[in-house]
Structures are given as C-alpha cells and as structure tokens.
Amino acid sequence: MKARRIKDIEKYSDQWVALDKSRTRVIIAGKNFQKVYEEANKKAKKSSFMKVPRLDAAFVGK
C-alpha cells in the first residue's frame, strides 16, 4: 500500500489546505482558495493545494 495519509487532515474538513512538499502535512488552511494560495506561496515553495472533502460523509459523484 503506497497511498498517502495527511497528518491531522480531519481538522480541515471542507477547507482548502496547502500541503508541504512531502504532501503529508498541512501548512495553511482556510475557506478561501485565493487566500490560502497567496499565504502558502509566501511561506513555502513547492506547496500543493487541496480542497479537503467533507469528512462526515462519503462522496458518490455529482
């Protein structure tokens, strides 16, 4: 199994997050993509961005 897990991701349900270069830790989080994007780019290079799904429900497609 090579799937990644993101540390403490349950704290960020339904938020945009910036992940560090290892893609396993959240460095910035918030409701607004642009703010998260701008803050992350000031703070760190090689960030990756993710909209964390709602973690109180599974997804079955739109």
């Binding site: 199994m1 090579k2 799937a3 990644r4 897990r5 993101i6 991701i9 349950e10 349900s13 339904d14 945009w16 607004n32 993509f33 642009q34 994007y37 990756s48 961005f49 993710m50 909209k51 964390v52 799904p53 709602r54 973690l55 109180d56 429900a57 599974a58 997804f59 079955v60 497609g61 739109k62």
Partner: protein, 143 residues
C-alpha cells in the same frame, strides 16, 4: 509513450463527535492550471472521475486564474441527487501534469465547492489510457 503515476490519498470518515469510523481512498492527481498566459496556478489535487461528463471546478479558483466566472458559456449539470446547478464553461485553459500539457475547458460553479473533478470530455479524452489499480493504490496516466 509516457506514463504519469500517482498514488491514492486516504481520508478518514468521522462521526458527529469527530471520531474516525472508516477510511476512504481517493485517486487524486496533481494538476497545474494556466489561463491564457496568466500565472501558473497549482499544483491542485483533482479527482479523475470516469462517471463525470465534464471537468467541474469550484468558482473559488477563478480569481486566482484571472477568470471572470460569468463571462463563460452558461450550462447546467445534474448530479446524483438530481439537483441542477449552473456552471460557466471557460475555454483556453491549459492543464499541466508533470510536464505534459494540454488545452481544455473547465466548467466552474458557485454551487460546487468540493474537490475539482476531471471528467470524460476535457480530461480522459486527452490520454491514451487512464488505469486505476485499487489494490496497488495507484493511478497511471498514459499519453
């Protein structure tokens, strides 16, 4: 032939008290977006969804890309709930995946705020094959 490989991402499912009750794995891929020679935005994690007809993204990404949402072509899409949502289609968007670039279109919506979805038209049709291995927890994109 060139292959791009990504691994699944695992997420906990929690109950109303925040306790983990299950775990799911999603085949997310990292994409970088560019609109009409603006800045490169990303990488953003997006979900290749073979059951989706089109690419569907939250409108919250539009300002960063330099896109005026309502200048796009208006469409509506229907999800599993049967609910119809209004989308605005924008053309001339480049997607980069580990150096592979293609031009496509994306439907953006104020009414969709979840993980960006990559659908059959505008994403799957840009590759020779897309293989999901649930056992290996990997996605392989061939172009």
């Amino acid at each position: 032939m060139s292959l791009k490989k990504f691994y699944y991402t695992r997420f906990p499912i929690v109950n109303s008290k925040g306790h983990k009750i299950a775990e799911i794995a999603r085949p997310l891929v990292e994409i970088i977006l560019n609109y009409k020679h603006g800045s490169m935005v990303g990488p953003i994690n997006a979900l290749p969804d073979s059951g989706a007809d089109y690419n569907l993204f939250s409108s919250s990404i539009c300002p960063t890309l330099g896109i005026s949402l309502r200048k796009g072509k208006k469409f509506s899409v229907v999800g599993i709930s049967g609910e119809e949502i209004i989308t605005y289609r924008h053309y001339g968007i480049s997607i980069f995946i580990e150096g592979y670039k293609f031009e496509t279109f994306i439907d953006f919506s104020d009414h969709y705020q979840d993980t960006p979805i990559l659908g059959q038209q505008g994403f799957f049709d840009k590759f020779k094959s897309i293989k999901f291995s649930r056992v290996k927890e990997e996605i392989i994109l061939e172009h």
